[in-house]
């Protein structure tokens, strides 16, 4: 089979082969001749097997002659031979029927395509000698007008790639040329394949690197924000405890012993009452949210169990929420004190005590609750049940079993 003396291999650049499934289409088109399909193919194979270097020329000549006669008579047998070949060469042949060189090319297509199809199941070893043989014949026997241009000939074919698995995508190059055309600035420009591959490989590696080692994931952002708010909340809780205690102490000092100097309190405190109430609400809101964050309140049953078992953090969040509601309930009285200078009828003399006494008491209770809650939080400032959940927001690496399942 091997021609022996051939040192250089000449393979014409082939159009990419269509997948095997599409080959049924031409057969369908030429239905009238489908019965004849197996016979010529079989015959051709047998002839090819028998040939050696000299017989090839006869074979070639016979086939060419046959095609010439077929061309004169129309389709007929020609189609039966072509039924197993892909559609594009057939179409081309119809267009340029007079060009002999084209015919020969198509014949080469036919032979090579056939052999390529035969070797898809791993007959790589058989493929090489046949290609060599055919190309050698083309080189030696064709007349000058049928000579293949030098540009089309590639002396160094790429080494055959090992076939990994039955269903893997073909890994060979679609174009066995060194140049590829890359679209740049809305124009296709020629570029060396090797360089292009290098750059694209580098980009792939970079993408892989970014995929594998993201600097800052969304989970990290979440944890960072959560941690930052926890620290901010801790400061707010401390400030709130101090502010509430200071507020109560100031109220009691202004009200005098046994709350006997309430008019003095109203005069001094009325400009501070409403801003104080607003500040108290803001601090309480932040503190409550921070305390809820620690106890992971959204997990209802867990939070309830922690509260029943008197977990300090759960207790603190409850105290903060109670203090918030109590503080809000005094909004009306605070506004009354605020508007006291404009409208003294809001706090009629004699009834001041009746209105202000609950307000002072509530302020005291709020201060106590807030102080106690802050102590509970400050004992264990690192306790945070939500953070563990945020930490768990991670894509665990797939198990080996899953991996094999996915590739299968």
């Amino acid at each position: 089979m091997d021609t022996g003396g051939a040192t250089t291999r000449r393979v014409r650049e082939l159009p990419p082969l269509p997948p095997r499934g599409q080959r049924s289409l031409p057969t369908m088109l030429s239905q009238d001749t489908t019965e004849d399909v197996p016979a010529p193919k079989h015959k051709k194979k047998r002839v090819k097997k028998e040939t050696n270097g000299v017989d090839d020329t006869d074979d070639q000549g016979m086939e060419m002659g046959g095609m010439g006669s077929r061309r004169a008579s129309g389709i007929g047998d020609h189609l039966t031979l072509e039924a197993t070949v892909e559609a594009p060469p057939q179409r081309r042949r119809k267009k340029k029927k007079t060009a002999t060189i084209d015919l020969e090319d198509d014949h080469a297509d036919l032979v090579n395509g056939d052999t390529a199809d035969q070797t898809t199941d791993g007959e790589e070893v058989v493929r090489k000698p046949r290609k060599k043989k055919k190309s050698k014949v083309v080189e030696t026997q064709l007349p000058d007008e049928l000579d293949v241009p030098e540009d089309d000939i590639i002396s160094d074919t790429p080494p055959p790639l090992p076939q990994h698995s039955l269903f893997a995508a073909p890994q060979s190059q679609s174009q066995p040329v060194g140049k590829v055309f890359v679209e740049r600035n809305k124009r296709f420009q020629a570029a060396e394949r090797s360089e292009w591959r290098k750059t694209s490989d580098a980009m792939d590696n970079m993408a892989d690197f970014q995929h594998m080692q993201p600097l800052w994931t969304t989970r990290d952002v979440s944890i960072r924000v959560h941690g930052g708010f926890r620290v901010f909340g801790l400061y707010c809780q401390g400030f709130l405890a101090g502010y509430a205690v200071w507020n109560v102490v100031m109220v009691y000092m202004l009200a005098g012993q046994h709350l006997t100097a309430l008019s003095n309190l109203l005069e001094q405190y009325q400009s501070v009452a409403y801003p104080s109430q607003s500040l108290l609400y803001m601090l309480l809101a932040i503190s409550t949210v921070a305390a809820f964050d620690r106890v992971n309140l959204a997990k209802g049953p867990v939070a309830l169990r922690e509260f029943i078992t008197l977990d300090p953090v759960a207790l603190a969040s409850f105290l903060y929420f109670s203090a918030l509601v109590l503080s809000l309930s005094q909004q009306m009285t605070s506004d009354r004190i605020n508007l006291y200078s404009n409208n003294t009828t809001l706090l009629p003399t004699g009834l001041e005590h009746q209105i202000l006494h609950p307000w002072v008491t509530v302020n005291l209770v709020v201060a106590l609750l807030v102080g106690l809650a802050w102590i509970l939080i400050a004992i264990r400032p690192e306790t945070d049940y939500t953070e563990g959940y945020l930490m768990a927001m991670e894509i665990e690496p797939p198990k080996p079993d899953d991996k094999s399942e996915m590739t299968a």
Binding site: L215, L279, E394
Partner: protein, 164 residues
């Protein structure tokens, strides 16, 4: 499959937390800024729009998750149902309270307007606001979960559990 980029997530989180901060600021100090009723009205309108905007952002983020796109809406709803309900409740409370306050104070800002009903609504709205802040902040942090944005063993596990 669409993954969530860290920069995009950080930006969205920043917007959400800014809107929450603005909301807290208006809730805290709107009573102090009542001398000019128009200012208070604008603040209230912006606040309500901010709540609505926050809700839309959360919904868009939920729609953007892979879990939602493959149709496992139940998993997301189970996680974030409380937040969605609280947001709607808080928005309702806020709009009612703002309308009531503006209606009573529009002509005379220094009038004493408090009644028992208004006081109760005020307490409910402010208490709901704190719960809303907590749940919203928690949800926006949980939406940074990378498992929500791609296929993972965790999601397959959840899927099999849902099918059962």
């Amino acid at each position: 499959m669409c993954t969530l980029h860290t920069s995009n997530y950080s930006l969205v989180l920043l917007i959400q937390l800014s809107l929450l901060s603005f909301d807290l600021f208006v809730n805290s100090f709107s009573e102090l800024l009542r001398t000019e009723p128009a200012v208070q009205l604008v603040l209230f309108i912006i606040q309500d729009i901010a709540i609505l905007f926050n809700l839309i952002i959360i919904l868009l983020m939920l729609f953007n998750t892979y879990v939602f796109q493959v149709g496992l809406v139940a998993i997301l709803l189970e996680r974030f149902r409380t937040m969605l309900m609280l947001s709607a409740l808080y928005l309702t409370f806020s709009i009612i309270l703002h309308s009531w306050l503006m209606n009573l104070r529009w002509l005379n800002t220094n009038r004493f307007i408090w009644t028992e009903g208004l006081q109760v609504l005020f307490v409910f709205q402010r208490a709901a606001s704190v719960l809303y802040y907590y749940f919203y902040k928690r949800t926006s942090e949980y939406l940074g979960d990378p498992r929500l944005y791609e296929d993972s063993p965790w999601l397959r596990d959840m899927f099999s559990r849902v099918r059962q």
